[in-house]
């Protein structure tokens, strides 16, 4: 197990480095110059552009910029934003909190609801509710998250006045302490609902399919033949085996959701990584973008390893086969 984990970590580090290199090339290949955007359009001249280009080291060849960046990373320095002049690491940390709150809440809600509904439908295959929920899952799966977000705002904020339209807390009241916690949760309802609704279909379909698959396995038929009660078969054998793909999807999705929640964050003005990334892209803020992509790469790599480890605990066959 230890050597397996070691191999996985080495592979993950290599993957993160390649992702970093790939992102660097893509970012610099995209048209647009951050310095010219920074300089704006009032009282600007070529001398100012040249001075700023030199200040941010963008006058150096691309490969020097890259290795300088990687070198600084080893010293724990992710650079400073061309725009705000603030350390990228500090900015990312301040944005990670709201994103994790939104993403974890939504993912857990989606995991529980999607899986439960999937299991329910798997046990009632062909029923009217199974068909209905199957159709609904495709509907939400194909619904753009920005549209869904806007519809939730129109219904629950503008029409019913049940929830606030946007933001993370009430700026006018600016509550503190426990009242602030309640206020944040209140503001969290609509964005997490929008994100959950787009995630539920994945868990629903995977749980449903895998429960049906495991339910049709020979050993389950044997258990049925032996006279074991259906509830006990499902509780003790089917769910335990069927949960593995759901865990995999949950882990992978959790890693990608940091960037995937961008649209929902923008629609609901949620101050997280997503909207931060979109702004950095439009401004071509190279250090910020590299920092964001680094965090996403690391989170994907880490989650892959975590999923594998969790897998081995859930399914002892995997650890045994790794050991061979």
């Amino acid at each position: 197990m230890k050597s397996y984990l070691g191999k996985r970590i080495v592979t993950a580090v290599l993957c993160v480095f390649l992702a970093l290199l790939f992102n660097f090339i893509i970012i610099h290949a995209a048209p647009g110059n951050p310095i010219r955007i920074l300089a704006g359009t009032d009282s600007v001249n070529e001398e100012m552009i040249a001075e700023l280009t030199q200040k941010y080291g963008l006058d150096q060849p691309a490969y020097i910029q890259f290795f300088r960046y990687v070198g600084n990373l080893f010293k724990g320095d992710m650079g400073v934003s061309i725009y705000t002049g603030q350390p990228v690491a500090d900015e990312i940390i301040s944005k990670l909190g709201p994103t994790l709150l939104l993403c974890l809440t939504s993912s857990i809600i989606a995991l529980i609801l999607g899986t439960l509904l999937g299991i329910f439908c798997a046990r009632h295959v062909g029923s009217a509710l199974d068909s209905f929920l199957g159709s609904i899952s495709y509907l939400f799966d194909s619904t753009p998250s920005f549209w869904l977000g806007l519809m939730l705002i129109l219904v629950f904020a503008s029409t019913l006045h049940l929830f606030p339209t946007a933001g993370m807390f009430n700026v006018r009241q600016n509550a503190e302490g426990f009242a602030r916690v309640v206020d944040v949760l209140y503001h969290l309802v609509l964005p997490s609902t929008a994100l959950s609704l787009t995630l539920i279909p994945y868990y629903f379909r995977i749980a449903r399919t895998s429960v049906i698959q495991v339910g049709n396995e020979d050993f389950i038929t044997t258990l049925r033949g032996a006279g074991m009660r259906e509830d006990r078969i499902y509780r003790k054998y089917v769910f335990r085996n069927a949960i593995l793909p759901v865990v995999t999807v949950f882990g992978i999705q959790l890693a990608y959701i940091v960037s995937g929640s961008a649209i929902v964050e923008i629609v609901f003005s949620w101050p997280g990584m997503g909207s931060y990334m979109m702004t950095a892209i439009s401004r071509r803020d190279y250090p910020t973008l590299m920092g964001i992509y680094l965090v996403i790469s690391i989170s994907v790599a880490v989650m892959m390893i975590v999923v594998d480890v969790v897998y081995t605990y859930l399914d002892p066959r995997i650890s045994r086969s790794e050991g061979k």
């Binding site: 995209a30 048209p31 647009g32 110059n33 010219r36 955007i37 920074l38 300089a39 704006g40 359009t41 009032d42 009282s43 600007v44 001249n45 100012m48 001075e51 700023l52 200040k55 400073v80 725009y83 705000t84 002049g85 603030q86 350390p87 301040s94 944005k95 709201p98 509710l129 209905f132 609904i136 920005f146 806007l150 519809m151 705002i153 129109l154 219904v155 904020a157 503008s158 029409t159 006045h161 606030p164 339209t165 946007a166 933001g167 993370m168 700026v171 006018r172 600016n174 923008i266 629609v267 609901f268 003005s269 101050p271 997280g272 909207s275 931060y276 979109m278 439009s282 401004r283 071509r284």
Partner: protein, 537 residues
């Protein structure tokens, strides 16, 4: 009711509500604008105003980096010697008065007494000198404004004398524009304005005092109890800016009453809807920003005056504005903005739509129609946000009628800047850009090698006239130079001016003395909320 039925019912209701809300909405064809507030009411001080803002400021130093968001917040926290009002007038802000020497070289500004910064320290003429000298030293956004300053002297605590090397008509207006705020030397000396110190806590002499900045969420300011124009001003207890990137979300927040001022520009349909609503006053304001179409004069057939003439008279501006730009543009009539009408030659107007003439000009180019009936196939480069996509579509259909096949190339600003402005890789482009606060700021667009002259237009006479016009101060002395430029531009046609950028700003009726309102638009800057108040808090 069991869980299954309840769940089905809930989903049905939610879906039905979604459908109802998505398809609903009031429609109206009432497009009356209400730009006045009517009867003057008694001021009700107090309350915190909530305003939307697309993205957060990238700096809290108003003289450091270029930042349109800080440009909105800065007048609340800081003061300038002068300010530019919504009507384009240059009026005194922190300065009580000023005089210009007879040789047009020395400006003497008189400052009021007992002005204090928000930290309680007194403001003196030395802070003005420090601010301007530091802007140059640090390479602040307005460093170019002081490039021709010979000296800044402080004969006493309340007098500043700025002497220029050459007369410069644009100088006074520049002191009322962005990036020239008066900062306290004891707070800002020795700091890196463009670097990490850019986010230091702001200290100024404005009507409000910085309170809190929650990155990604909001920025708030509270009333400055020691404001030098007080004791009543400002009327509001505070202002909070809420960062909302999505226009549709901001619109819903605004309509739900969560925002007092939307802050972002609503879509054309939403603007019309709000204009028709009696609960809002819609202020219409023209800025010195213009929409124009530019040609790449280094390429054929754009270097042919007949082709440019054909495009100029082939565009039906009235139709274009009605179809694509009704709530953001008024038709242009002259080569300079109407805000600088003194510079326009009344005898030289912009080309008017004339399909027959356009056909004649196209014939004169010597181009021949292909099998599809087009003389040529060209690309129109533009930005990917409204009104440019809609504008481009209408232009495409209008130019097709005179035999020009247009392929639209929409780009985000960064890509446009690289392709068009830097690499000069385009055929035609349509843009909207600020050309102020002085008429001489048109120079970078039309003079040889100008920063915005991506057309590569070059005419020595225009260069000479624009330079001469900027070196004089009185409008009557400057006018002949600019009027001659109008005549040359009409002959050369490096650009086709489409119109003036106007902003329709819907403001709830309970908000009074908004900077764009008739009551104050001639005396305060466009973001100065010192006299604004609300009768609903």
């Amino acid at each position: 009711m069991n869980i299954k039925k309840f769940f089905c019912l809930f989903l049905c209701i939610a879906l039905a509500l979604c459908m109802f809300t998505a398809c609903g909405g009031d429609s109206t064809d009432n497009t009356d604008t209400d730009s006045g507030e009517g009867v003057e009411s008694e001021v009700t001080p107090g309350g915190t105003m909530l305003i939307g803002m697309g993205t957060e400021p990238i700096t809290l130093n108003p003289n450091g980096k270029v930042d349109s968001n800080m440009g909105i917040i800065a007048p609340l926290l800081f003061s300038k010697l002068m300010t530019v009002t919504a009507t384009g007038n240059i009026v005194c802000d922190l300065a009580e008065s000023y005089e210009l020497s007879e040789d047009n070289l020395s400006y003497t500004f008189h400052l009021p007494e007992n002005v204090k910064f928000s930290d309680g320290e007194p403001m003196t003429s030395n802070d003005v000198k420090f601010s301007f000298e530091e802007i140059v030293k640090q390479g602040g956004q307005a460093a170019g404004v002081f490039a021709d300053v010979a000296s800044i002297e402080c004969p006493d605590d309340n007098t500043v004398v700025i002497t220029l090397n050459n007369p410069n008509a644009a100088f006074l207006g520049s002191l009322g524009y962005d990036g020239v705020y008066i900062l306290p030397e004891h707070v800002y000396a020795g700091k890196d304005w463009l670097g990490e110190d850019g986010m230091q806590t702001p200290v100024g002499t404005g009507p409000f005092v910085f309170n809190e900045f929650n990155s990604g969420v909001s920025l708030s300011v509270v009333k400055n109890e020691n404001y030098y124009k007080g004791p009543d001003l400002p009327y509001l207890d505070g202002i909070s800016y809420s960062f909302i990137a999505d226009v549709d979300t901001a619109l819903q927040s605004f309509k739900n009453g969560e925002l007092d001022i939307m802050g972002l520009i609503p879509s054309e349909a939403s603007t019309k809807e709000l204009m028709a609503d009696p609960n809002y006053n819609c202020y219409v304001n023209m800025y010195a920003s213009r929409f124009y179409l530019g040609f790449n004069l280094d390429k054929e057939p754009f270097n042919d005056i007949n082709f440019r003439n054909a495009v100029a008279v082939g565009i039906n501006k009235d139709d274009l504005i009605t179809k694509a730009m009704e709530t953001c543009c008024v038709k242009g009539e002259n080569y300079f903005s109407p805000l600088f009408n003194w510079a326009n030659d009344p005898a030289v107007t912009l080309p008017e739509y004339d399909a027959a003439k356009a056909a004649e000009y196209m014939e004169a180019t010597g181009l021949e129609k292909d099998a599809d009936g087009f003389y040529c196939h060209v690309e129109l480069a533009t930005y990917n946000y409204e009104p440019f996509p809609s504008m481009s579509q209408v232009l495409k259909s209008q130019l097709a009628e005179i035999g020009i096949d247009v392929k639209i190339n929409m780009m985000e600003y960064a890509a446009w800047d690289e392709n068009v402005a830097q690499n000069h890789d385009f055929d035609m482009t349509v843009i909207g850009t600020y050309i102020g606060p002085d008429v001489s700021n048109f120079s970078p667009h039309i003079t040889t090698g100008g920063y915005f002259n991506f057309m590569n237009y070059s005419n020595e006479k225009v260069d000479e006239l624009m330079t001469s016009g900027a070196g004089l101060v009185a409008e009557e002395d400057r006018a002949p130079y600019y009027q001659e430029v109008c005549g040359i531009l009409a002959e050369d046609l490096p650009i086709v001016v489409i119109g003036e950028w106007v902003a329709y700003t819907p403001v709830p009726a309970y908000v009074h003395n908004y900077p764009l309102s008739d009551e104050v638009k001639d005396k305060v800057g466009t973001s100065d909320m010192s006299e604004t108040w609300m009768d609903q808090q």
